[in-house]
Symmetry: none
């Protein structure tokens, strides 16, 4: 009890700095995302980001060396999140599903991710233009994850096959669902279905090789 109290106090006294920093970094990122979505990266100003995040501009520059770094951090935050989502499909629970169901869920998962993270689009549109290397980094992470999953779906795949197939799947799903997310709901729904069909038949054709 006493210990807990002490540790609570200790925490109260020690953490603040770090905790406040983290909170500030996150507030900056959240605000930056909103502003990038609203006005685009080029039109956004670091001054406004700092003002809305209620941190002095100097503090912003203590965390991020320049404006680009904010975009990059945002990109990484999203990449990690999406990769986590995809990692789920490496679990036994998923791998035992019929392929059609597996693909259905995979594509739908990505769709849901884009729906729930409207910033992803805005951020990566900018990234593609400004820092293609960073975009690649994000996709590469996904491709690696997918490359690790494929042998579990069909042990006959060679490593080269896995890499190529994973590449195609990640890029195709990523691009199509991303574009779909900007379409009217009905058409978006249709595109999701088509993407599922596209990927399912593609995978099946590889299984029957």
């Amino acid at each position: 009890m006493v210990e807990q109290a002490a540790s609570a106090i200790a925490r109260k006294w020690r953490k603040p700095k770090q905790a406040r920093s983290l909170e500030r970094v996150n507030r900056i990122l959240d605000v930056a995302e909103a502003i990038f979505i609203e006005q685009g990266y080029a039109a956004a100003t670091t001054k406004e980001i700092a003002a809305v995040a209620e941190v002095p501009i100097g503090t912003l520059y203590q965390f991020f060396p320049d404006k680009e770094a904010i975009l990059q951090a945002l990109a990484e935050r999203y990449s990690d999140l999406l990769d986590q989502q995809v990692q789920v499909f490496a679990t036994e629970a998923m791998l035992v599903l019929p392929l059609s169901e597996y693909v259905r869920r995979l594509v739908e998962g990505v769709d849901t991710f884009f729906l729930e993270n409207p910033g992803y689009r805005a951020v990566f549109v900018e990234i593609t233009t400004t820092m293609p290397e960073t975009e690649e980094a994000g996709d590469q992470q996904l491709i690696q994850t997918m490359t690790g999953i494929l042998p579990k779906l069909n042990s006959a795949f060679s490593p080269e096959d896995c890499e190529a197939i994973a590449f195609v799947l990640v890029k195709a799903i990523g691009n199509l669902i991303w574009i779909a997310s900007g379409q009217p709901p009905a058409f978006r729904q249709r595109l999701v279905q088509e993407t599922q069909k596209l990927c399912l038949n593609y995978l099946q054709s590889h299984f029957s090789d």
Copy 2:
């Protein structure tokens, strides 16, 4: 008579200027494309474009109301070019080919186009960021062309089917082949094959519905 003579003279005097104008416009577009690819649209300056194109900045602004218009003009130039390429696949000579051959040629045609026109995607990536409204113009034209072709491959397709399938094909091929064009030759070749497989199986699955 008098009119004809006058117009002849007028032509004599006007044409050279028009010819020079056209040449200048094209030089501006060529230079702008190179600079956009190299530095990105945002970093490029109208002054540099004019300087490299050896055109006074004031003259540049006589042809293009603003910087965006240059990008837009570039987009149109490309769209027409690629669409011409795709239109070929609406010809009888192509439509009689076996589907696998048809798809093979289609994808390869796009691959060749990107190889020969490295600026195409670079330009459209910028457009996506800078003028999302205009973006679709490029792919949309292709999608329409493809939407017109699909019924000829399978008359059972409803208009909605056609639109959705064309959308998926154009976007998937466009994106995958574009990315492939930035990969090492061996892997690029493999990606082209995979894209063919992806599209072929997708179309076949729709034929057997």
Copy 3:
């Protein structure tokens, strides 16, 4: 007569742009000098210089790529002026004077220059720190001029002698009179005399080698 009038009109219509530019450049330099003297180079702002010179800041940056360039231009303006002053001592009229009178006038000429150009000090103090190369360039110009004069005073000097002696004279006079110019009048006068004595005896000792 008519011709003159025409040319006057022509001048009136042709020059303005160039004349206005030159006038502006000079106004910027004059203002910059005053502000550098008053506040020092580091404290001066391009904004203020432009404002006082009544030119838009953008115009200032059309003539000078950056703040340093203004200082450099100022330095060159002065270097040329001082060199002109020294060149006078290569004329026959001066060379026939007795050495003591020659040296007296030389040192006094430099003293007068510093007195009449209070900006020289302020500018070169900054230059010494910020762009030592430019300062050297100025002195080198003077040293060359002096190196060309010395053989006329004593044809026995070897080129190496000339260079070394010119170097010593330019640096010694330049530094001492410069420092003298910042001293109270009476002491300044004394320092000028001492500098004359210093240089005269130095030269005489070389003549009797």
Copy 4:
């Protein structure tokens, strides 16, 4: 007794701290000197100085009220050092030397000093720009020392003579030898000789007044 013990203990506890402080102050000064030489005073940042000196920035500001104070401390450190060097020339052993030998050694001593302390002039050049008031402190001390020496060389000098002559000698030697130290070895050697000649003849001329 008790007091002594207490003071002993106190010393035991205080000294180490003082020793550490001194070491830190010196490390800061050493680092600052290096950075001032390399980048100039204006470009140097207190943060970098602290970082390279491995001292927290807050600690730096406990020793030096502001950036200028570091420069000032550096100046004092050097002034004392050079003045010690010059004081030697007030000793009997030196004063009995022939004037030519005396001057030879004096100039050579300064040359050696600059060679061994490349930072001296760099520091004082900065001071001239940044804090002209303080500047003189350095040379002024030398001038005073020299003013005290001159009567011993020639008792006929009036105090005003002494001050003027000392001023000229200190400034001339200081400036010429400093510049010489930045020249290629052969030319530097020549400049040292010329400076000796310059000063010797100057002094001799005063002796024969």
